[in-house]
């Protein structure tokens, strides 16, 4: 309790601090977690405030472990975590303000969607769990009167029920582990919009993903995690540029590939090239943006027909490897 609260014996100002002063809602400092020999999260530090933050990383990067640490499901081996100024493992009262969508698909199969979300509300001690459960289900476009058990639900429907149980108690910190998996494009858009609205309301929304396009839609703030380490942090555009600001390899298919490659080299648009066959070459460039802008122009100038430009290493893995390998 703060000194003021102790004096007045009334409202704990420290507890409402997050809205009175710009204290970070989520704070990780030097957090490490390992499972046996596997280092899942290594020396990660960041602070987050209100709004949507994407946690981006390839499979096995440590995203789920990081999110589980945030929700207090596992203790860190090193470092400290603070959610709304509290340690989520030592102080379970703070769980009232945290919502989590875990990665696993399983839910309580013997319950209906309403029972599942209602139970979450009851266990969170909210005053009107009935109403809140109906509203939460409506927010994810599920019918609260559906009598079917969750065991009969599709993957996408389960995903939405999981989101409903995470917001039924109006949490301030919402942690979602790959919440868009299994959803159709329309539902993806709907969910993304919901996350943004929650962020605009002042909630700290953390969404993990291994899909770059998805992250682009989540918004501007991104944490990139690879091999357990925080590889980059900041605005999505800055991170995208960082990812693109590296040697790219692309395959060009054309009726005059060699001639085209020669001109590109002469213009400084590519750094190196490798002849593949009579119709294609592989080129390497450091500035993929201006390469893409200019390759068609050069082709037109020399009268070559460009059939295809395919990036060879645009998969996220190579991007992450590059980011992690940076000094």
């Amino acid at each position: 309790m703060t000194a003021t609260a102790a004096r007045t014996g009334a409202i704990d100002l420290g507890a409402i601090g997050a809205t009175l002063e710009p204290r970070p809602m989520v704070e990780a400092s030097g957090v490490s977690k390992w499972f046996g020999d596997v280092v899942a999260v290594s020396e990660v530090s960041f602070t987050l405030g209100a709004g949507v933050t994407a946690l981006l990383g390839p499979n096995g990067a440590g995203k789920s472990t990081m999110l589980r640490l945030l929700a207090g499901l596992v203790p860190p081996d090193r470092g400290e975590l603070r959610i709304l100024g509290r340690d989520p493992r030592a102080d379970i009262a703070v769980l009232r303000r945290i919502g989590l969508v875990p990665q696993q698909e399983t839910v309580f199969d013997s319950q209906t969607a309403f029972e599942f979300v209602h139970m979450a509300g009851v266990l969170h001690g909210i005053p009107k769990p009935d109403r809140a459960a109906k509203q939460a289900l409506a927010l994810v476009e599920l019918e609260h009167r559906d009598p079917r058990r969750l065991s009969t639900y599709s993957r996408g429907m389960r995903q939405r029920v999981k989101v409903a149980q995470a917001i039924v108690h109006s949490p301030r910190v919402i942690v979602l582990d790959e919440p868009l998996t299994g959803l159709d494009p329309r539902q993806r858009r709907h969910m993304t919009r919901l996350f943004h609205e929650l962020g605009d309301l002042g909630c700290c929304v953390i969404v993990s993903s291994h899909v770059l396009d998805e992250v682009e839609r989540f918004g501007s703030n991104v944490l990139v995690i690879a091999q357990g380490r925080l590889a980059a942090e900041g605005d999505f555009r800055a991170i995208r540029d960082l990812m693109e600001d590296r040697p790219h390899r692309l395959r060009i298919t054309s009726d005059h590939p060699h001639q085209l490659a020669g001109h590109l080299l002469a213009d400084g648009l590519i750094m190196g090239l490798e002849l593949i066959d009579a119709r294609s070459v592989v080129v390497e460039t450091n500035d993929v943006h201006s390469f893409r802008r200019n390759v068609a122009v050069v082709a037109r100038e020399i009268g070559a027909r460009l059939s295809e430009v395919v990036p060879l290493d645009d998969d996220l893995d190579s991007v992450f490897r590059y980011l992690v390998g940076r000094p």
Partner: protein, 265 residues
Amino acid sequence: MTAVLGSRARVRPWSRRPVPRRGRTSRTPGAFAAIYRLMLRNQASIGRVFAVMALGVGAILLGAAVGLQHTVDPVHDGAELINRYGLTILVPVVTLVFSSSTLGDLIDDRTLVYLWLRPVNRLTVAAAAAGAAMTICLPAVTVPLVICAALTGGGIALVGGTAVAAAVGVVGYCGMFVALGLRFKRALVWGLAYILLWEGYVAKASKTASRLSLRAYTRSVVSQYTGVRLDQAGLTIVAAVLVPVVVGIVFVLLTGRRLKKTAVD
């Protein structure tokens, strides 16, 4: 773009709600009932119910068989049957099946997170799990055993002793096996090892080991009620009734403590 949250957001500015003070977790009325109901429903699987019914019918048939033989000492023979079949197999095995899975199943299918994430005292979760297991096991073992005892012709003392022994056994074993389900991935195997190896062999070898097996207490109840001398059953009625109940309670407390510290998948 239409708003998803709509008017709800305006009515309730969630982001401004204060964080409850530390330790304020007990204000979740209905938490015990909700978890208890969930556990009861999870346990009601056809396979389990069928297996338990088969064991119960077995007890009744055995009781009838002993009764029909019209032996010289039906009290002694009845007590031996209750001891050998009821207290040695039926009570521990049925409670093992239903207790170890209350929390164990949630760990296996990774749904424990949906209880753990809530600001609910961990002891409440442990107590609800044990309570649900007992709710199923008490009738599931007491009813067939009491019928069995009655059919042997052992009289009211045997029937009463059997009912009390089965009930205190259920309380002790339930607490123990709920904890086992939280602690071990293969709780059924560990539980059977305890029942068969520890209670079956090791407990026979030494008096101390015998005191550390619940069966010594449940037997003593039957022995005290009927006056029949049973193997490793020399405890007073007070100890025989109290110790299993205390064991059950202590294991529920331990389960609550372990839940607090456990890493949840």
